[in-house]
């Protein structure tokens, strides 16, 4: 009796399974509209939330995961040499989509020449040699807006927003010399599951590293995100990828780094080359450098570790012949509990205003944020009127889907108040 009962029950369930698929991933192919050939390594991202992105492979195939709240979003597909395409997710099916890109018309004198292997290596090497010329070596200040959103890819679990002024002396100096002044900070409730055992473990590991005298990055995430900026003295003077004495993205024979030329963009009179690199052959494009051929400046880079659990991205803009950060973004695993497999992520983004290099009012040591001050275990005064008037947040408003998710129990305004100093 039971046997039949359950068998039929399974049939019903299977039917339900087929109809009830909740989409939080889409897949398909990106092709050239003209001849239907695959477009390699096209970049897909959510229009209003570009932190969620995916990359098509060399056969044009892609699989794009995003939080389920973003079902109403628009996905943008971009690839060098093609016009950007925008498609609402709601018009796509879960699998088997074909996204057709229109070729971009190039004028006759813009002939693309693929650089050879050694010239890619040369290009990267020149870029590193030119770091001292291309990045600031004078005192300057940047107004910056910092936002961290945390997600477990089912919902959003934490929000921190801070308005700051960063004062950097020179990219040749170590990061410990820079000062960050907090203008205002607000944060939401913690909606993630914090495991006290994990907290103990993290604390002991930190203590251990400290006791060996190794350099430990700042505990303060705001300073940490800025300092991650790839060309600062810390990186340039080390033996890491951007280090002047490092392997220069070449690897060693035991662990080689492979390169792949991904294309070029022509912006005004400049030609920007995009070079992908990876320890896997061929590189899939999730780590890349964009180098300006005029001055060998790295104008943008993205470096991914593991399978994208850690990723750092930075974009620079030229002001009077020197490059300042326009945007820095770090993605990392959020280690608040033992559940490290479901991609709980912290996504920290910094947007910067134009730099100020003259008539600077120096940030005094007592006004500067402590390098080891942990934001989430501290309370800050809440200045609601400041946030209403703050220009940078108006340029980068929080996505409504994230707001809805964070406000599932209580309004953000209430949460900000609750987590602020009385």
């Amino acid at each position: 009796m039971n046997f039949f009962c359950t068998t039929i029950f399974f049939l019903c369930v299977q039917v339900a399974l087929a109809q009830n698929q909740q989409t939080n991933n889409i897949s398909g192919f990106v092709t050239d509209k003209e001849d239907s050939s695959p477009v390699q390594f096209a970049y897909l991202y959510l229009k209003n939330y570009p932190d969620f992105s995916a990359l098509a492979d060399e056969r044009g195939e892609f699989k794009f995961f995003f939080p389920s709240q973003f079902g109403d979003e628009i996905v943008v597909i971009s690839s060098i040499g093609f016009q950007k395409l925008e498609v609402p997710i709601s018009s796509l099916s879960k699998t088997g989509n074909t996204l057709k890109l229109q070729r971009q018309l190039l004028s006759l004198n813009e002939v693309t020449v693929m650089p050879e292997d050694h010239s890619m290596e040369e290009m990267i090497s020149k870029a590193i040699d030119n770091i001292p010329n291309n990045y600031p070596d004078k005192r300057h200040q940047l107004r910056g807006f910092y936002r961290k959103v945390s997600t477990n890819y089912e919902e959003f679990t934490k929000l921190v927003e801070a308005a700051v002024v960063v004062e950097d002396i020179s990219y040749l100096k170590e990061g410990s010399a820079l000062r960050v002044k907090l203008e205002s900070l607000r944060q939401s409730d913690e909606l993630g599951e914090v495991d006290s055992t994990m907290t103990i473990l993290k604390q002991r590991i930190r203590e251990q590293i400290k006791s060996t005298g190794s350099a430990l990055g700042p505990s303060n995430e705001i300073i940490g995100t800025y300092q991650h900026n790839g060309f600062r003295g810390d990186a340039y003077n080390s033996k890491t990828w951007f280090g002047k004495d490092g392997d220069r993205f070449m690897g060693i024979p035991e662990l080689p780094t492979y390169h792949k030329f991904m294309g070029e963009e022509i912006i005004g009179k400049d030609t920007i080359h995009q070079i992908a690199f990876s320890t896997k052959d061929p590189p899939n494009g999730s780590s890349y450098l964009k180098i300006n051929s005029r001055n060998h400046a790295v104008v943008e880079y993205q470096i991914s570790w593991l399978s994208g659990e850690y990723q750092t991205f930075a974009k620079f803009r030229e002001v009077d012949g020197v490059y300042y950060p326009e945007m820095i973004r770090n993605k990392e695993l959020r280690l608040i509990n033992r559940d490290v497999g479901t991609h709980q992520m912290d996504i920290s983004t910094f947007w910067f205003d134009l730099p100020k290099t003259e008539d600077i009012k120096k940030i005094r040591a007592k006004d500067a944020l402590d390098r080891d001050e942990e934001v989430e275990s501290n309370d800050y005064e809440l200045d609601s009127s400041f946030w209403k008037a703050y220009d940078l947040i108006n340029k980068h408003p929080l996505d409504s889907a994230i707001i809805r998710s964070l406000e599932k129990n209580k309004s953000l305004e209430q949460q900000f108040k609750r987590n602020a100093k009385d």
């Binding site: 399974l17 002991r204 590991i205 251990q208 497999g341």
Partner: protein, 484 residues
Amino acid sequence: MRKIEIKVYLICFFLGFIALCSCSSDEKSEVQNADEAISQIVLVFEDSVASRFFKQRKSVFKYMDDNQLPVEIAFNSKEAGSEIVLKTTREFLDLVYRDNSQVEFTYFLQKGDSVLILVKDKKPWLTSINKDNSSYPYNLELLRNTELFGKPHSKVQDFYFLWNETKAFPFELGMNDDLKQIKDEAIQGFERELCWLDSLANTNSFSEEIKAFYTSKNRMAQKKLEAYDPESLDINTQMALNSILQTDNSPLANSVYLDEFSELIITNQTEGESEALIDSLIARGELNSNDKSLLLHYLQKEIPNLSFIEADEVLERYEAKLANPAQMVQLNSSNKALQAIESDIELMGLQKSYSNFEELLDQKKGKFLYVDLWAAWCIPCIKAFPASLALNEAYKSKGVEVIFLSVDDNYKFWEEVAIKYDIAIPELSFVAIKKEESEYLKALDVALIPRYLIFDPEGKLIHPNAPRPDTEEIKLYFNSILKD
């Protein structure tokens, strides 16, 4: 809950309809089906949300089958269906749930149970389809953790989590005091759990069998925890062993818990200790189910490190002592597979000369081959090269040759690395290419290196996991096979 009842009602209606239609069909098959229904446990996902949850969390169910061999059911693959059928002739069976978040729940199920899997507060929640039950029997460990500890993990799980992380960390973490404190809390937790089980049993929330199982598991878990010393960070295997051998744990017989406990003991023992243990158990007389579990794990640990001939000898010696022939088949399966399969590895030699492994074996006929599997990222492999080279020198005249075979993904730079470490010797140094196409490499499972293989003068694999080149054992082994 209401919804489910309605569903079941509807299903029964369908069932009646189907039964009517199928009345005329073969009666025998229905009898068989009825038998099957009794000797199985069925679990089914409530909806796509539940099955998706299992996939996302990389959930695994584990149980011991009737041959006392562990079976794991994973849900990360695309093929995983919406139902799980556990065949068993045992009256009760314990099923362990684990996932990414490192939670662990043991469900004590009865033969004939039909269970619906739901997801509640991001945790699996089991409920009976065919029995009217309170929520305790099926979700006892989840409810224990939330009611007693206010979180999804128990205190003892906290302890093991920190213990394992501390052991795995490459540096010494000052964790001793934390471990000591959590161990004390875990012991208190066990006492609280016993009271909790008592009070629930008194209110008839579950049966005597369920109480006996979880009480035994609690006692055994306490004994196990005692063997962990936060001061020295060592497991006292003798203490752990005594708790298996001396306590009455019959309600736990053939459970996943006892199986994993035996495995832990054997893994932490030296080879000599395990051998002495097994001998003493056999000398004592008839083996009980716990002893047999220890024997099985001993053999599982031992067999992969033996030559095929030695493995056959060991298996022959213990065959009669094993719980059943299926365990014998399982112990033998990897060696059998390796002996049956063709060595289809594509090779590249120095200066981009191509060949394959079969050709190489053919060419080297008449000699024993000691194959050193390595990769450029594997530091212990490279450190052992001088020993392999010395071995080659010492046994060259006696008919043994050492082959260096790289299994590195980065084969483009292989020759450079081989030259750098002085193993770029013509006819002795190769790299495996198109690795993913080789069934032989898959069967060998070369993820763990350094690893050494020995082939006989006929070109047949005789040792899948030979001693390292710098050991006495390898010399003894060569001396013994060269004498024959």
